[in-house]
């Protein structure tokens, strides 16, 4: 060892930051999986309300909804805490970033702003949604349809659905980039995939909502 390697023996960074980053990524991945699964469950109504009821019944009798629901809530909360480290909380930061996005006219840069924006709305809306659903178990197609048809909930879901899908779609793409799964070589392809996925999921979601709207209770 000579003087040039001496500095290596003073530890500056603990493993902490790396672990937080891994946890943020994992929370993201779990939420992606959850959201897609969730969409599949709900959209089963497109095939038949009976199927949806059956799935819901399965989740409740196995207590997966009662336990899993709050767990997802916790997961979202944990994700919120982790991701909040990156949010531009200070006006100065937001300001700098918005200015930057305007200057750059660069898509990926805008995506992040979209993710932060959607995040804030999701924070409120997802909590509301979960509260409403989980305090009114069991989940049935009829109850969901009634909510949609009551009027106020339709615009609510019409907003939450694209927000969530956009947030998750961007998240999916960015996890891939940050961890080197999406590379220079396949980036274009993934960008397209991301668009199709967002579009696809939003379409399925909309169809589901429409189905609920016209489902005779």
């Amino acid at each position: 060892m000579d003087a040039s390697t001496l500095t290596l023996h003073v530890r500056k960074n603990g493993a902490g930051v790396g672990r937080l980053d891994v946890m943020q990524m994992l929370s993201g991945v779990l939420l992606i999986v959850f959201l897609w699964a969730h969409l599949m469950l709900v959209s089963s109504v497109l095939i038949s309300p009976k199927l949806m009821n059956a799935i819901a019944w399965f989740f409740e009798t196995t207590y997966m909804a009662q336990v899993g629901g709050p767990l997802i809530g916790l997961l979202i909360f944990a994700h919120f805490l982790l991701a909040a480290r990156k949010m531009p909380w200070r006006a100065q930061e937001t300001n700098a970033f918005v200015k930057h996005s305007v200057m750059m006219h660069h898509k990926d840069t805008w995506l992040w702003l979209a993710q932060v924006g959607t995040a804030l709305l999701i924070l409120v809306m997802a909590a509301t949604h979960m509260w409403v659903v989980l305090t009114d178990l069991p989940i049935t197609a009829a109850k969901s349809a009634a909510r949609i048809q009551s009027g106020t909930w339709l615009p609510f879901y019409l907003i939450l659905l694209p927000l969530a899908e956009i947030h998750v779609g961007i998240g999916f793409y960015r996890i891939g980039v940050k961890y080197g799964y999406i590379t220079k070589a396949n980036r274009k392809w993934y960008q397209r995939l991301e668009n199709y996925m967002m579009g696809g999921f939003i379409t399925i979601g909309l169809l589901t909502l429409i189905r609920f709207l016209f489902l005779t209770v």
């Binding site: 040039s4 995506l111 590379t183 220079k184």
Partner: protein, 262 residues
Amino acid sequence: MSRRLHIEVFRYNPLDPNSEPHMQSFYVNEYDSMTLFIALNIIRDEQDPTLQFDFCCRAGICGSCGMVINGRPGLACHTQTRDLPDHIVLHPLPVFKLIGDLSVDTGTWFRDAGARIEAWVHNDHEQFDPKAEEVRMENDLANEIFELDRCIECGCCVSACGTARMREDFLGATSIARVARFYLDPRDERNEENYYQVIGNDQGVFGCMGLLGCEDVCPKHIPLQDQLGIMRRMLAIHSVKGILPKRVLEKLQHKGCCHESH
């Protein structure tokens, strides 16, 4: 063909208490093969001798002339006016300290970043034996190292990075790619923990948000995106060693590059 270019330039002299940041318009006749290097020099020679900007090699190899050209950071000497509309707006690179007009202090920034990441080959430099044959290396590896050594420190990637604009102490893609250069180099005796010590934090690799402004503006096409991914994954895995089982970690290691070979 000949257009009359309207070149709008950011003007501000921080040393002059009466100077206010403002945009100033210049008009220049366009010639064949005109680059911003030529246009700006015409302006300085014929219209305003006090206009500050930096050029050195005027061939895209020294990195002096980074500036924001119609919103995007890029090299002015490498930019032909015919690829631009006839209204051209020039700003100095953000993030770096402004010296005046279009000139910013990239030198101090890069030197500081270099010191923070200890950007030199860590081995015993005194141990060089002038009589001995050089240590052998695979040519492919040499090429891969050089690929990252091609960075000209123009600062475009830093200016294009949203993270760097929000957080002053962010090291930027260029520094992380520099560490990746040493990580590749078998002559550098640092291990993963050592690299973690220099960039395993929110100022380094974990601060990057994957927005790829850097990748999309780098005039030398340094593979920044791929290197950021390689380094983040390597250091993230390093931080959870001992928590997750070894077999899983090995699976997650970045594949398809030559690190595994040394």
